[in-house]
Symmetry: C2
Subunit: 412 residues, 2 copies
């Protein structure tokens, strides 16, 4: 038994979320520290998907748009997610990908601030956020541009040209949490709108969009929410903006009367105007169960456990044989961290491959990050301790030097 | 036995596609004439979905992006669909919805013809096509506009202002087929690019994109291709345009190096630059089997049977008791028709509801269209004959006057 053994046992015994583990399908022999990239399937999601395919699609056929509730799934799921991110019903819709939703909201926001030209963000934020901002300013033209400033320079850069401040709530590499309330207030004081990407916070941290007076947000559902690979994303538009913002992607599902088949676009009332085309029902179905589980656990308990798991992981690494070789790339204070912990090492890629070969699945982020996610719904403290010991061993014994672990086949 | 009984029997006996019926899951007691709205599941799709959920998602977890081929699914499926629409490998990708793909290609095309301001289309074409065009010109600004002209006036409207001619290959209400080769040539002679929507032709008619020198196309996969409800759409960009067109929605999956996580957007080589966010894998998985079945049957045999089914339906209606009450809203010449036949009647909505209650599923399109799709992979001539006789009876006996059939609950 390791030095931390009894501590992990104690933590597991006192874990109020311990029973949620039984709600998930997970392979034998794996410690899964990548639920922040792709959450595992809830058993109920597998049942829902089976029913959606065999019964709703196969037996109901086209009638299921009405009888199986497909047509309302984007807003029904949106209302459910609203409860996880501090939004009200009618402020969230599930649709398209995070990338597409970013474009919709960035263009709508830029058009709502026509005299302002700048989308402000930070270098090294999740790439698709920056790419979609580049696409939005390129498409709208008129001198609009994306301005990237280091975190410490962001506030000073807010000014009369700033149309939108675009930031990730939790940084995808470091896990650092942004001050949502403070940055939102300062951006709004400068006359800008704020767009938060909740991909790495929704479903694992308390998010208080309305309490922070946030204007706009997007988020991913296949990470902590376990919606399934590539499950559709969500977007939030505060009620006060819903009448004035127009989606550039105003498709038929966002029309005031989708089945009147009129030639002219007229945006739907409310959040539904941010829908676009026909929603991918099977991928939406996979999200029902994960969203319900996260709601039942509650953001406060999710965050407390995720952070405690991360703290234990850091402690075990730093008390172990690889302490000197690995440098912490995440905030040490768990209150400043999301559900993940990253360490830097020049051989990060090979280290992650060596861990995967031993059943500990984390992920690599270029150039030198080993990233580990601590999904609180299915991980135990004992697993996290064992994973940290395995990482220590792989690094201290230079297991990663085996050339097999350097072959770059992996893409995610 | 009806007057057409032996004819339908003969046609079924000689049907080279008869065996494909066994490849589909269909409910008992239903004649499904709405495969042009939502195709039924191939049995193999149900198996694929089960495997994708339990094995690839549940056991493979995040590793399945590599080991289950998820990352390549959009281009692998695109190459498969290319064989159905006269495109070459590397010219088609499966991504997003038809609506989103329309926006990508319209904006890219408008930016490639900066001195031209008009998207030309026709009134009454599928609404989302027109809505997305309205969104594209609204977003780009610069005096750009959507100009709608009646079919007989379209050619005369092509001129030095026309940037893009946008048309549905087969009209969603009438089933009328457009002259793809002729209209493409005339639009290009006027200096415009052409964008075809193949939603109602791909997988049921021979489509010859490259033989017709088409520039751009989009299409839907949940109709004749049986990809499942809201399955992702496809888009085609001719090889000659791939280097010069830039998607406004350049997300990380369309980046030259998605996993280098660079701040600056650099479009991928080839068709992959038109991908955007993370693809909805479960919804993509549902498409594998339907696309394979359509390829195996082949567009020529699919079209021949679909048209013969439609001819039989028209014949039975017009020889029956409702001949005078129903007016054909589709071309009589099957060579000018896609896989569907529509009839007009002032009580079209209630007629369709009465038919559904009797197990014949077609659909209503406002204001007065009863639309019937003749998917050639799973329908028999005997079923189509029986459905036509049922329609004749519902109309001739005024079954539709039952108030139960006028309640507007259905949305599709």
């Amino acid at each position: 038994m390791s030095a931390f053994g009894s501590r992990a046992e104690d933590l597991d015994r006192d874990d109020p979320l311990a029973d949620f583990r039984e709600a998930f399908a997970l392979p034998e022999g794996v410690i899964y520290l990548d639920g922040n990239s792709l959450g595992p399937p809830p058993l109920a999601a597998l049942e829902d998907l089976n029913e959606a395919a065999h019964e709703a699609w196969g037996q109901g056929l086209v009638r299921s748009w009405n009888t199986a509730g497909w047509i309302d799934a984007p807003t029904r799921l949106g209302d459910r997610l609203a409860g996880l991110i501090g939004a009200d019903p009618g402020e969230v819709i599930v649709a398209d990908s995070t990338s597409v939703n970013l474009f919709k909201l960035l263009v709508a926001a830029l058009q709502a601030r026509p005299e302002r030209t700048v989308v402000l963000s930070e270098p090294g934020d999740f790439p698709t956020d920056l790419y979609m901002a580049q696409g939005a300013v390129r498409t709208l033209g008129g001198g609009r541009r994306l301005d990237l400033r280091e975190p410490e320079d962001l506030e000073a850069a807010l000014g009369p040209d700033t149309a939108v401040l675009l930031l990730g709530h939790v940084h995808y590499k470091s896990g650092r949490v942004r001050d949502m309330a403070g940055l939102t207030a300062r951006a709004q004081a400068a006359g800008a709108l704020v767009l938060w990407d909740l991909s790495h916070s929704g479903g694992v941290l308390p998010v208080e969009l309305n309490a922070c007076n946030v204007d706009l947000a997007v988020g991913c559902t296949y990470k902590y929410l376990s919606g399934g690979p590539g499950a559709p994303a969500y977007l939030f538009v505060a009620k006060r903006h819903q009448d004035s913002l127009i989606s550039p992607l105003g498709g038929w599902m966002g029309h005031a009367q989708p089945f009147a088949f009129e030639d002219g676009y007229a945006p739907a009332e409310g959040i539904r105007r941010f829908a676009c085309g026909t929603p991918p029902i099977l991928s939406l179905t996979g999200l029902e169960a994960g969203a319900a589980l996260a709601l039942r656990a509650g953001p406060a308990r999710l965050a407390a456990k995720a952070r405690a798991l991360g703290d234990l992981f850091i402690e075990v690494i730093e008390a172990g044989p690889a302490a000197a070789a690995l440098s912490l790339a995440s905030p040490r204070d768990s209150g400043e961290r999301g559900g993940q912990v990253s360490f830097r090492h020049p051989q990060a890629y090979a280290i992650v491959q060596a861990l995967i070969a031993r059943g500990v699945i984390g992920d690599f982020r270029a150039p030198d990050i080993c990233r580990f996610g601590f999904s609180p719904l299915f991980l135990s403290f004992a697993e996290v301790e064992a994973a940290a010991e395995m990482l220590g061993e792989v690094v201290a014994e230079r297991v990663y030097e085996d050339p097999a672990y350097s072959v770059r086949t992996a893409v995610t």
